[in-house]
C-alpha cells in the first residue's frame, strides 16, 4: 500500500541503482530536479534569511533598522495573543476539515453512483473553488449577516433563534469554517471521485458475493482502498489550514472580530507587521508559525504512519 508520505523506496530494477558510481554520473538526475531547488534558493532562501535577520531588528518597513537582539522572541513567548491565535487556527482547522472531508466523500460517492446530470453536479460543486475568494467573502458577509442575512431568515422561519454569526465568538469560527468547507468540498470530492473510479468494480463485486452489505463494503473495502487519497487531502488541508487568513480578514476584519475569535496565526502576523508597522516582530511571529506548522505536520505524520505500521506487522 502506498502512503502519501515519503518513504525510502528503491525499486529493485531501477535503471540507476546498480553499484556505487561517482556522483557526476548522476548529473542528468541532478539537472532534472534542479529547477525547483534553484528557484527556491533564489526566491525562497533569501526571504528566509531576511526574516531571520529581521526578527532580530525593530523595523517599521521603511526607515533604518534598529538592533533588538532576542527581544522579539522573548516577547513572542509571553504573548498571550499569539497563543490564542494558535488555538484559533487549530480550532478552525478541525471545525472545517472534518466536515469537509466527510462531505467531500459523500459528494464523491454520489458522483460515482448511477446518478443523472453528473457533469452538471461536477461543475456545480466545483464553482466555489474557481471563484475569486475576495468576491465570495463579500457574498458570505451578507448571507450570514445578523438581522437580515438569509441564514438567520431561514432559522427564524423554522422557529429557531437567530445566531450571531459575526458577533459571537463561536459564530465567527463557524462562519469562517463554513466558508472554508464551501470552498474546498468540491475540490476534495473530485480527488476522492478519481480515487473511487480507480477501484475496480470486481473488488466490490467480490465483497458483495462474500455476503457483505453496502455499509460493510464501504467500510471494509472502499475506505481502506481510498486511504492514500484521504491522507493526501488531510495533509493538504493541514498545510492550507495553518495559513488561513483571507476569510477572517474580510468577514470580521484584521483583528478577528469579537474576542479576536477569528484571529488566526497569519492574520496576527499581518496585523502586527502591516497594520502596526512592526516588521521585526512580524518576522518573529512568522518563525513562530513555522515551528507550529512543523510540530503540527510531525504529529500528523505520526498519526498517519501508525496504522500503516500496524498493518505491515500483521
Amino acid at each position: 500500500m502506498t502512503d502519501v508520505l515519503p518513504r525510502v523506496d528503491a525499486p529493485a530494477e531501477s535503471p540507476a541503482t546498480k553499484t556505487s558510481r561517482p556522483w557526476f554520473s548522476f548529473l542528468p538526475q541532478y539537472l532534472a530536479i534542479s529547477p525547483f531547488y534553484i528557484l527556491f534558493a533564489v526566491f525562497g532562501i533569501y526571504p528566509i534569511f531576511f526574516a531571520a535577520y529581521l526578527a532580530l531588528q525593530r523595523w517599521d518597513g521603511i526607515g533604518p533598522m534598529e538592533w533588538a537582539g532576542l527581544e522579539n522572541f522573548t516577547f513572542l513567548l509571553t504573548d498571550g495573543e499569539f497563543w490564542d491565535a494558535i488555538i484559533n487556527t487549530l480550532v478552525i482547522w478541525v471545525m472545517s476539515t472534518v466536515p469537509m472531508i466527510v462531505l467531500a466523500l459523500l459528494v464523491a460517492l454520489g458522483l460515482n453512483s448511477a446518478i443523472r446530470f453528473k457533469g452538471v453536479y461536477r461543475l456545480a460543486y466545483f464553482t466555489p473553488n474557481v471563484t475569486s475568494i475576495v468576491a465570495m467573502a463579500i457574498v458570505f458577509g451578507s448571507v450570514f449577516s445578523e438581522e437580515f442575512g438569509i441564514v438567520n431568515a431561514l432559522l427564524t422561519a423554522i422557529g429557531l433563534d437567530p445566531v450571531g454569526w459575526l458577533s459571537d465568538p463561536w459564530g465567527i469560527k463557524v462562519t469562517i469554517s463554513a466558508m472554508i468547507i464551501w470552498r474546498w468540498v468540491g475540490y476534495n470530492a473530485i480527488i476522492f471521485l478519481a480515487g473511487l473510479q480507480a477501484i475496480s468494480p470486481e473488488v466490490i463485486e467480490a465483497a458483495k458475493i462474500d455476503g457483505a452489505n453496502a455499509w460493510q463494503t464501504f467500510t471494509k473495502v472502499t475506505l481502506p482502498l481510498l486511504r492514500p487519497v484521504l491522507l493526501f487531502s488531510v495533509l493538504m488541508s493541514a498545510i492550507g489550514g495553518m495559513q488561513v487568513f483571507v476569510e477572517p480578514q474580510i468577514l470580521v476584519g484584521v483583528s478577528g472580530g469579537v474576542e479576536n475569535a477569528g484571529r488566526t496565526m497569519v492574520l496576527y502576523f499581518y496585523e502586527r507587521a502591516f497594520q502596526q508597522n512592526d516588521f521585526g516582530y512580524g518576522a518573529a511571529i512568522a518563525w513562530g508559525i513555522v515551528i507550529v506548522v512543523l510540530l503540527f505536520a510531525l504529529i500528523n505524520w505520526r498519526l498517519v504512519q501508525r496504522p500503516q505500521r500496524d498493518g505491515a506487522a500483521r
Binding site: Q29, I33, P35, P47, A51, I115, A135
Partner: protein, 276 residues
Amino acid sequence: MSPSLRVKVFGGVLMALGAILTIFPFYWLVVMATNTTADIYKTPPKLTFGPELVANITTMLERIDFFGALLNTVIVAVVTTLLVLFFDSLAAFTFAKYQFPGRNVLFGILLATFVIPMQMAAIPQFLIMAKLGWVGDLKALIIPAAANAFGIFWMRQYLSGGALPDELLEAARMDGCGFLRTYWHVGLPALRPALAFLGIFTFIGVWNDYVWPLIILVDPRHTTLQVALSLLKGLYSSDYAVIMAGTLVAVVPLLVIFLLGARHFIKNVAAGAVKG
C-alpha cells in the same frame, strides 16, 4: 419502494440540495452582477437576475483595461502552467524512478518547504526583483512559480503508486533510451492524468492569485485581471455591481477550462496511488 431505491432517491435529493447550497453564493454573485449597486444594497436584497449586466460590464470596461489585463493573465497562466508541468513532472519522474546520492535528503528539503509561510516573503522578494530589474514585469510572476513542491510531491506519489511499472523503464533502457528520452516516451505518457489535474489547478491558482501580483505589478501597462479588478474598489464606497460583473467575466474562462479538462483526469488521476 425497495430499500435500495429509497437510498437512491434519498441520495439524489441530498446531492441536489448540496449542489444548490454550493452554487448559491455563486448564484448571488450573478444576481449582483446583473443588478445595479442600489438594488444590491436594498433590503431585502433582490434575489433575481436583473437587466444591468451589459451596463455593468460596460462601466467596468471603461474603468479598467480589462482586455489588456486578460491578455497578460492568459500569458502568465499558460506559460507558468506549461513550465510547472514540465519541471515538476521531470523532477517527480526522477525522484520516483531513479536512485542517486542524496535523493532522500533532497526530497525531505522539498517537503520542508511546505511549512514555510511565504506571507513574510513579499518585501524581500520585491527587493530581489528590484535587483534583477523585474519589477512590474510579468517575469516576476512566472519565474518564481515555474516549479513547485506541491506538483513534484503529488506526481511523485502518483508514479510511486504503480502508475509506471519498472519493467517499462527496463524495456526503454534495453532499447537504448537515454534519461531524457525515457522521461519523454515513458514517464510523461504515464503521467498524463496527473498532468491534467496539476495543470488545471495550477492554471486556476495563477489566474486568481492577487497578493503577490498586487505588490510587484506596479506598471499599469502590465497588470493581471485580479490586479485590475482590485482597482475598482474605492476608499469610502464601492460600486459592487461593477466589481461583481468583472469577477463574473473573469471566472467564466476557468469554468470552461474545468469543463473541458475534467474528463481527462477524473477517471485516472488517483489510479496510481490507489493501486499501489
